[in-house]
Subunit: 397 residues, 2 copies
């Protein structure tokens, strides 16, 4: 393919149509503009493609957004002219000529707009790019800050919540196909590939990350890479998957009990291994319930992590819960807030994150249960709905 990074990227344009999409983007830009006054800036230069998409609905890249108090300008190139008109009605754009680099075009426009103090995104702009910009704009006083846009993105607006719900619905439809299609001879790799296809059939653009399908003791690795191991090799199957609707992501985990060993059937007499698995499963599910109960605005994210962690520790498995409880979800599959022991985030209504306690016993196996939640004014709404009680995770039983 020709050298253009945005090729094939999903569109952020909303199903609600350009008019209401425009309203969302204008509203987000208005909120961001508050920092101009607060920080004494003439403008912001947004260079992170996620920031540009979030603030304009533009789904391409290689484009910078200049956000001034009075003027907003998207600096892009001819390849995107048509797309900008479609995706960002009413947004002023400067189309650079092919022989001019993006930085040069942005510098030229900043000078033309007579901007003197300009904020930039220090968490995403690389040192060399920043040096290039400074060299092109000796009169500009550049003020880097890592999280101006990220702080807005952490609270999802109604349109974003709708898009996350859609990403979840797609992932859940894919799992509805996945379950009845399981065969004992399927390998982890085959099943991970199949999930990718089911997600696309269900209307998704693609997986939000390469699906984890881990058989037996491989489930003890929280981020196992799919291998040729077959389902029939063990009773336990862990599946961690998510869908990308256009831009927004979902992320779920379930374990399934496959039927190789009848001891896992509800009706058969259970083996000691099955007893152990059921006990661990109950602990993880209980820990998740504790965490869900703790979620509401004003609560510290690390206290939510602690609620789950305490429950697991009291059951004697504390040392086997080896990762944080959850992470924010949105345009990225991992974003703010951090829901873990060393987090300083405070929960607010409109945050969306995963709640995914796990117990991993090396050489034996792991159990993780992961759902996506929205913080509401008085608690939380669990957005995901795949069944997770002990009896419902038996495949074909």
């Amino acid at each position: 393919m020709a050298d253009r990074r945005a090729k094939g990227e999903p569109s952020l344009a909303l199903r609600a149509g350009p008019k209401s999409a425009m309203d969302d983007f204008t509203r987000r830009r208005q909120k961001l503009k508050r920092c101009l006054k607060e920080e004494g800036l003439d403008a912001l230069l947004l260079t992170n493609p996620l920031s540009v998409s979030y603030l304009t609905g533009f789904s391409g890249d290689s484009s910078y957004l200049i956000l001034g108090a009075k003027q907003t300008l998207l600096v892009s190139d001819g390849r995107y002219a048509e797309q900008i008109t479609e995706e960002c009605p009413g947004l002023e754009a400067h189309i650079r000529p092919p022989e001019q680099r993006l930085q040069e075009a942005a510098a030229e426009q900043l000078k033309k707009m007579r901007l003197r103090t300009v904020g930039f995104e220090s968490a995403s702009l690389a040192v060399a790019e920043c040096e290039g910009l400074r060299a092109l704009t000796p009169a500009i006083d550049w003020k880097g800050k890592p999280d101006r846009v990220e702080k807005l993105r952490v609270i999802k607006d109604a349109t974003e919540i709708q898009q996350i719900r859609e990403a979840i619905r797609i992932a859940e439809r894919a799992f509805e196909m996945f379950r009845p299609m399981l065969r004992p001879s399927d390998s982890e790799k085959e099943l991970s590939d199949a999930l990718e296809m089911y997600i696309r059939w269900a209307g998704g653009t693609c997986s939000s990350f390469p699906a984890i399908v881990a058989v037996g003791d491989r489930s003890a690795r929280p981020h196992a890479r799919p291998t040729d191991r077959r389902i029939s090799d063990a009773e336990l199957l862990l599946v961690d998957w998510g869908a990308c609707e256009r831009f927004y992501k979902s992320d779920l985990t379930r374990v399934l009990l496959t039927r190789k060993n009848l001891s896992f059937s509800r009706t058969a007499r259970k083996s000691r291994a099955a007893d152990k698995l059921e006990k661990i499963y109950d602990v993880v599910l209980g820990a998740q319930e504790q965490a869900l109960r703790a979620i509401r605005p004003g609560v510290k994210a690390n206290d939510v992590d602690a609620a789950a962690r305490k429950f697991i520790a009291e059951a004697g498995y504390g040392q086997y819960f080896t990762h944080g409880l959850g992470h924010g979800l949105g345009l990225q599959v991992h974003e703010a807030p951090a829901v873990r022991a060393n987090s300083t985030d405070i929960l607010q209504a409109g945050m969306v994150f995963t709640v995914e306690p796990g117990i991993y016993l090396p050489g034996w196996g792991g159990v993780r249960i992961e759902d996506d939640v929205l913080v509401t004014p008085d608690g939380c709404e669990v957005l995901t709905s795949v069944a997770k009680d002990w009896t419902s995770i038996h495949v074909g039983a």
Copy 2:
């Protein structure tokens, strides 16, 4: 999924096994170490995950590599301890505790090693990360440079060429499945999704980018996003696809003539539209031949672009070849060298890049032919082999 970026990432470990892989990585590190003396550095801190993978074979992320004259140290964390032992036998690793951040651990090790002048990767390290590192290491004199590793990566070693050949073989097998499976009722989106699956069935990890499948006049957009448009809506189908074997990428484009209109059949009398398409196809193919003939060590990359561009211009389509001729291919689907009009790169044996001239007539359609080539000591080898003569691109004819 739990917050860990490398989950599901393909492994860079070589099929040849850990021993020979180790040799490649040691060789690459030895080459890179030359810049220590040249630049008066005590060490390099490699923070770009691609650099770390290229130099060690480690396929995870969240890890920094300290490359000193005498000591090489991978700073990572407990989640990766087992994987580092598997993927990087013999490499010294420092495993940080969970409560310590990666930057803090790296700073601690740099101090311990008494390094005073340290190079960093300015093209990938973000400003905020760099500031964080500087604050943690006030005694270190940091020297940023954008392309120390990239300059090595531009010349592929034998192992890399083998891996790129494998990525091409997978993409070509996928296309062999794709062609006979085409149905008039298939949409661009369905076919793009199907190609993803064929690539995985053929042994690939995934597509190296979302496949472009463009019907009729949509092929005039060099980076068309797949829609619900059906094959039967037009005669022309453009497919731009590539595979990722583990880490290395391939990238090809072919146009196919579908049979809706019998005028495109070899045996039927041709319409004027078919005449126009055949003429344009011949021009693009001829332009590619001109470019391929121009490729050999010592030649300027922009002269190769010019060879194709001149041929297209002389045929009267100069203004419709709207992108550069090609781009390097390797760990990334777009990397050095740049093969376009404003490139300053000089071709060297061992470079691998795409050669992809195109003619795009808005509202009518586009033709692009893309192959991957390796620069050899006396010319070039075309690594891709999907048929592209006029008669062979008729589907089912």
